[in-house]
């Protein structure tokens, strides 16, 4: 039954979920632009963020202080990434490894498996719910869970903050330069390895933040990062690797397409609609909507 109300509701639901997926995509694309590697374990940092949020809320702060717990959770994921990078990723550049992409793939996939197993060992395979006291909010015709809406709003705020910091701070300038020329920025005096650590930390912290904000919505368990990783990468392909506006716009597109598809076509194929969008975009623009055009010849 197609009604304007259902259309509006689906659209809104899609936008909200799209914003959150975009956070994951932003993390992936940011890390790629600086460190020039794809971090396949992004979902596991989402998962860590959700676990830290759960423990902060369940043990220390209670669900009402979720907005204090979430930045703390994101920061803890930042620290984890910041200290992990020199161990795992830096050797890609310093140890004379030639096939860097393969190295990064192997290392981040190994990390993914290890983190998942670690979570299962430490916390058990059970789902946990930090709980949320946020009331259900009516967004026009759509009743939306308070936690989900809060996640979307915070996500947008963080993305805007990220953009502003990138444009106005010295660190942001160094990062933008590093994204354009990893080598050139070194000869200009920037310590690229420090940039790598910070960029990696920030990227995974974005995933961790998404996990923390969505903990009461999608629950906390060792494999809750899988879906978000998949969506994150779909978004990268659609929006173009290395493009920040691309991450947000593609995120929204994906959320909306999946939501409308599930509402009006067969809901069993919800995930397939996103892939169809991806295929269409690739046919038209192989490097993604905002991706850098690969030079011919």
């Amino acid at each position: 039954m197609i009604s304007t109300e259902l259309i509006a509701q689906s659209l809104l639901a899609g936008i909200i979920i799209g914003v959150v997926y975009a956070l994951m995509a932003l993390g992936i694309t940011f890390i790629y632009s600086i460190v020039k590697m794809i971090n396949w374990a992004m979902g596991e940092f989402y998962m860590i963020g959700s676990y830290v949020q759960y423990f902060l809320i369940a043990q220390l702060l209670g669900p009402d202080l979720w907005f204090i717990a979430a930045p703390l959770a994101a920061f803890s994921v930042f620290l984890f990434g910041y200290f992990l990078e020199p161990l795992l990723i830096k050797p890609m550049f310093t140890a004379g490894i030639e096939r860097k992409d393969d190295y990064a793939t192997v290392v981040t996939i190994a990390l993914l498996l290890m983190l998942r197993s670690l979570a299962t060992v430490l916390s058990g395979p059970y789902q946990r719910n930090p709980g949320s006291n946020l009331p259900t909010v009516m967004l026009g015709p759509l009743p939306e869970s308070g936690a989900r809406l809060a996640a979307a709003v915070c996500g947008l705020a963080v993305m805007a903050l990220f953009y502003v910091l990138l444009k106005t701070t010295w660190l942001g300038l160094a990062m933008r330069a590093a994204a354009q020329s990893r080598f050139g920025v070194q000869t200009a005096g920037v310590d690229i390895f420090r940039m790598d650590r910070i960029a990696f930390g920030i990227g995974v912290a974005l995933a961790g933040l998404a996990g923390a904000l969505l903990a009461p919505v999608f629950l906390v368990y060792p494999t809750n990062g899988i879906v978000t990783t998949t969506k994150g990468f779909e978004i990268i392909v659609i929006g173009g690797l290395g493009s920040i506006p691309g991450a947000l716009i593609a995120g929204l597109m994906l959320g909306i397409v999946e939501s409308l598809g599930a509402s009006f076509l067969a809901p069993a194929y919800q995930n397939a609609y996103g892939f169809i969008l991806l295929l269409i975009v690739l046919l038209i623009r192989p490097s993604g909507l905002f991706g850098e055009r690969v030079r011919q010849a």
């Binding site: 039954m1 058990g124 059970y126 789902q127 939306e144 494999t223 939501s259 509402s263 069993a268």
Partner: protein, 430 residues
Amino acid sequence: MCKRSCAFGKVCPLLHREAAAKTFGSAEEGTVAGLKSIARAGVLVAALGLMGGALHADNEPITIGLIIPLSPPGDPTAGQLIRRGAELAIEYYNEKGGVAAGHKLKLSVQDSQGRPEGGVAAYRRLVSEEHAIGVTGFFHSSVNLAANEVAKGMGVPTIGTQTSAAEITSKKYDVAFRTHVIDPVRVSAWLDFITQKGFKRVSLLAETSDYGVGLVDETVKQNQEKNVGLELQPMTFDRSSTDLTPLLLQVKAFKPQLLINIGVGQPMDLMIEQAATLGITPQTAMLISYDAPVRPQFWQLHPKNGAGLYFIAYYSPRQRLSDLGTWFAKAYEDKYKESPVYSSLNGFGDVAILAQAVDHAKSSNPKSIIAALEGGRFTSWAAADVTFPRAEGVYWHNWSPPVLILHYTDANQDWKGAVVVVEYAGTAAK
């Protein structure tokens, strides 16, 4: 180490203990004589591994395989609960001195992860490496179905502990057995519930697994055959979806009186929360299709939205237990400080049934075990005896416990105190 069974036995009967047993009359004498042959053969014997077949030498334990989900995407809580029951069954028989004149039992636990490939790999491992005489524990239907396809060739019987898809038994494989509620019985139970409540519009939200799709099809079928006259909204979703909002919006637009939640594990939990957020429940009633709400974690996950839910259960403390069941209930309470739930009861029961089958057959030969299962009467946890007749269709090799529909009226309610709305006797095979 050679792991092949009977092929070598045919060539070298003196090294094959089953053949030796047949030749020399009893397992023990056969083994002694076989050992003499082995001594003559020398090095060859050391190289060849155990062959399957006759009961092993004295004190060689008999292995029962348990294939359960212990990690996602399977339902690990279910797996753990089944395991608890199975372990207690092993304890029970070993304390009594073992089965078939002194053979102790050993449980080999394998993680299927709720995936068919996991189940297939586990079954193969259990049969070829661990020489299990029977494999049970199955929780996810798709895992049971996949394992049965392999079992058909490898010959070691399987008992589905909590799997409900029809084809598990309706394919009528010799190796396939089940002690759980089958779809027709489950659906009949909830149609009883629907009629009792006077519901006319019912939404079915099912995961696209064998379990989910089977139940939707069966409900549509019985609605027609029995002329119940319901308006049904059947919808399916991918198990890995975390966002069920689009489907729930359609449910909301349909304005049903009952929403049947046919998800297992995460999808089931997410649906409870998301339906509440969208304001579908509690005005619309929700029925959970299996007994997850009896688990201790349920209220932690759904502190606010659990009250008012209806759910299926397969055990109520008011039911009469067998002596074995009574022993089990007490042992479980002593060990885990909580009352046993169905998953544990049935896990216990299935291992007990296999132990009894070995006892009856006095052999670990898979064919003998199957014959024993088909012909015997077994004691499980429930008061009624268990039999596995060669009956028609889905009733082949099947025993169903009764189906209950319970209702949580308050938050944090103990499931034992939940109101029993329907009690549907498991239909015995004709």
